[in-house]
Subunit: 367 residues, 4 copies
């Protein structure tokens, strides 16, 4: 399977460039009988849509999605689900000045060296706009996981540059443009972003994602591990440079007597493992945290070279997110949903006859 | 492809349990003509071998490997390379007391719930002893990458529990049982480990791995990204809970003007991106860092349940590493090697005719 | 990889239904730098287009294809190539009478039993109209194989019902609506088809496909064999019930002294093996022959059951090909092209450094 | 997935050469809880074992198989099943004379040109001895399919060179060395083989395989079609040059009114489609027929070239089957079993919740 598809059984294929005519995708392997409409995809796409506040790119895209196949009389048929999202607001001339320069931190140089041909307009295939396909595919996975298993997948912003955002409630997340789970900090985030934007610079972020209600047993050791596939999924998102599951890097300084999650008949006592043991879900919350680097396209002048290898300065004029992490929350949720759905199907394939033998353990929430 | 294989073109398949007769694997897709002998695999296996110091498990295994196919007159033939490593020092009775209990932090519970049958002896399939297969497969990849592209892959211990180990030199790594790149700290590490072992507890660790000499262009965006596949590979190693590439989680607090690696005709000025941009190698060092959780099997009594769901205490008597991170260095190197080799072949498949157009950029070392 | 994608490196993904809004596909893994336009795909699509003679379905479709990504300034970029073909001439009401009946020989019953939901309009996903995606994907493969290796892939009708069509010339194939390589027989074929159509019945056909210029060495034994993948590709075409390579079923009655193709410094003396030995191309012509069953949708009344399991009669009124084999030639060519391209890339990946050691053998034509 | 593995969920990986130390394989994806022992594999291996009559190769191999993992206390655990079969009776010196010559009809030339290195002893990787791995993997699939779904897979010889063998009974098959379903013909077959062997020549064969009891619904259109995967599986067997499903090539001359299998509440009236419609099993018998070419290694002198491209004569002295088709029956059964099991698991993954809606149809036997 080539580089623009992922998933063994819930298989997502993606195409499209930032300034081409359209993005689109194919979701293959969805079980038949799921109620599905354009609106199911649209409502998730609207969460990552550009132009929704002054803190994100001002590109104006309706991101209107059209399902082209795989749904009949409002329900999935089990055949491939094709969908299309037309690009509407390309300003390709913004990129003329960048066509022969490599922006530091961007994929310009590597695409050019790998393929010797490059659609420089808006980052071409490397644009984070490709994540519309992931969000659309994730919307289907989310819906199926919820209706079939009661799985709930939610994310939020946990750090914005130097500002840590202590978790307050999931309810808060939808009420502000930052996906902040803490309303008290929204003002501070706004001020920080306004100053950042004015300075012409950008910043990084941390996003946390949690899946509740995942049954015990998903994941295929030793290489098809659930946590490994989640790490892949997160690191495949543009700008992500780090992934943690459960205690993550904090596990380094933990003792075994502190880290290993004890069990009682009432369930696990803690969740340092983030809901995965031995590559298999435990029934606890799947807890993932990711680091996103600061946007590479900034207004400040930076040293680089051009396609002839000569030293030049580059300043990026186009419309960009000063912090790509802000819109990353629905994307990370979508990727987690796709991985979980793939493993739900894989588990059913191999272990469809297995009756989980030890029934008494109830699972606690993330700690 | 089911859960015990990985790699699209350099494909590794693994089997074996801790107390079964043998581990073995199949490496498929290796180019023909590579000089290869048992000894090439053995020398890497000896680096992760148990019993080599008092700081690791005292299980005595020669880990002698036998290549069974795919090599003729000392060179690979292009056909599948099968290999076998017999288990020698099983003490299965150590595990009788654990057969119906779930060790906290271990895969006991999840295997039991997923499969409803479990080889409890030594962790069965979940034992970290499975990594012999990874190390053997990685040894072949390392050799090919070195001989074909001059790629050098090396790792070292960066943190042991609370002790940070500043990098001093690669030469130091082979001279101590910790893979410490800093000889001055070895004494301190020994003392720490002796006390830890005596306490019956365990600790976590950080391991860094670096690949030098990787050409620009490896990786297949947007889902076959090199960094995403590396994240998968690292998180698939037993006990790993976090993965960073380049600046990793430090990127959260960085500004774009600080993070984005500037370029000059002499090369990149920094390496915050860890050698990958847009999912494609930049020609800089690939720099990866991983967090390993503390060993789950400890002597201290812990609360858990048994297969009937009743509360019990568990103490693990078997022979275990007090810190699995110590022996993780050659394993992480091996996984990185396998991923790089897979992408070297994939790149050659699609872009074998491409002449990298901008020749002048030389690459700097990791910063 | 789920059921609507194929190919390891040249990966084709398909979606669409006969009476949905559109068909579309994604071709992933095409090398960068290939000149490509809508017209390259269109000219192959026009060869399989319905309504082009009275002997095929009278559905009127322009089959106009739009490339949506992966091509920049007239050349492939190495990213995924998405394309779309809108349906134009659906007459869904033709199918109202069939919605709860299972046409004998058709996929109605199996889709219904597998998915419990079925888009009955025009066969839904099971319609042979899906082959537009194959033809479009094959057009790209054909172009690359021709420009990179000089490979030429051509097919023709070899039998139409009871009429055998001796091969005369490739030139003849394009000059008649049957893809007959023999102009003298066209009149006879027309008369036969006119009578068949009038009778309300349908007939089967044989199509031969040949690839010339394939270099020695493509194919990956023992499971990634070139001939096995060709057999898969051919049998995956709607209505195909048999596949032969080289001598095919005639090999049963051959002696080894007759079948085994002798070699001289001037090349092979015969081509009983059809250009593949041990799963690897020999450098001779790849020669494939397929059997297509008669169209299942016929006007004659037939016994069947309905969705309630009751006995009913069914007569199919819609617009159908009386012999699907007539339009199968460009489809079979396309599938062969996709398989060959996949193996060209796979071979380059593993054996890109190999210099074929025995240069003197020239290859003869198919016998 | 590289060339020595097959299957999406029931994944088989193979290694080994004819004169290397051993063959082996890994079966991944088998559900847990299946009773399994060496003996289950051995009894199928014994059916294809060399040296069992004077009509097959006189190489003496016990083909003793050892399961190395994935089975605990007599039941599969859901982890990878590794197994090993040591070679015992290599006579490598028989092949010294062939080391630099290419036997007509054999893979000698193509392996040499592809890899530039070749283990010429006994055909190396191209030897049909590799099919031990297929038979072992198929034995597990057969057992699971039988115990879980009541599926019965059986094959028999249908033609031996010019002799057609009308089907009489399955009982007859095990009672003679030819897998002939007709005892009356055994004497004639023996005489034919004795004369053939004496002449130093070889002949082709036809083998039929049937799977009874396959439920309706297995197969994933449009590319993961059950019939397409069966065609792949059959053509991947050494020496196979043709595959038919159901009516096969006879469908060319059939009318639609004759071919399309009518249905009544009592079931299908005929089985021209061979148990597959639209790529999905119908619930009828899966009926497959394959053509095997005559053995390439014969005693008669034949023209060929050597590795320097010079014309030479070659006579093959080693121990060979004069008709590889004789031992092909258990191999074809095994491949069909593996494909069916893969699709059983895939169907359960996607459609595990579907209740087949039309219950009344009972399926008739193959006609």
């Amino acid at each position: 399977m080539s580089g623009n598809s992922f998933g063994l059984l819930y298989c997502v294929t993606s195409f499209g460039e930032s300034h081409g005519p359209a993005y689109g995708g194919v979701v293959d392997g969805c079980p038949p009988g799921l109620e599905l409409s354009n609106q199911d995809l649209q409502k998730e796409l609207d969460r990552r849509k550009p132009g929704s506040s002054r803190h994100v790119t001002q590109r104006r895209e309706s991101d209107a999605v059209e399902i082209l196949s795989g749904v009949y009389e409002g329900r999935t048929t089990g055949t491939a689900i094709g969908f299309l999202i037309r690009n509407e607001d390309q300003r390709s001339k913004d990129y003329a000045a960048l066509a022969d320069k490599f922006r530091p931190g961007h994929a310009d140089y590597t695409y050019w060296q790998k393929y010797a041909i490059r659609d420089a307009r808006g980052g071409g295939r490397a644009s984070a706009r490709e994540t519309v396909v992931r969000v659309a595919a994730g919307a289907i996975a989310k819906k199926w996981l919820r209706s079939r298993y009661g799985v709930e997948i939610r994310g939020c912003l946990a750090e914005l540059g130097p500002i840590r955002i202590p978790f307050r409630s999931w309810q808060a997340v939808g009420g502000n443009p930052f996906f902040s789970p803490n309303e008290d900090l929204v003002k501070k985030l706004e001020t920080f972003m306004d100053e950042l934007r004015e300075s012409g610079d950008s910043c990084g972020a941390r996003v946390n994602v949690v899946a509740e209600g995942v049954p015990v047993g998903w994941g295929e050791p030793v290489y098809g591990r659930l946590d490994a596939d989640i790490a892949w999924a997160m690191m495949s998102i543009n700008a992500v440079k780090g992934v943690e599951i459960g205690a993550g890097f904090a596990a380094i300084a933990q003792k075994g007597s502190e880290h290993g999650d004890e069990m009682t008949p009432e369930g696990f006592v803690s969740n340092n493992n983030g809901g995965v043991l031995g590559g298999i879900s435990t029934g606890q919350d799947i807890a993932v945290s990711i680091a996103l680097k600061p946007t590479s396209s900034i207004r400040l002048p930076r040293r680089t070279i051009n396609t002839r290898g000569e030293p030049v300065l580059v300043e990026t004029a186009g419309r960009h997110d000063p912090c790509v992490g802000i819109r990353a929350t629905p994307i990370a949720e979508a990727m987690l949903a796709c991985v979980l759905m793939d493993h739900a199907l894989r588990h059913r394939a191999q272990c469809g006859d297995v009756q989980a033998p030890t029934k008494v353990v109830k699972t606690s929430k993330i700690n």
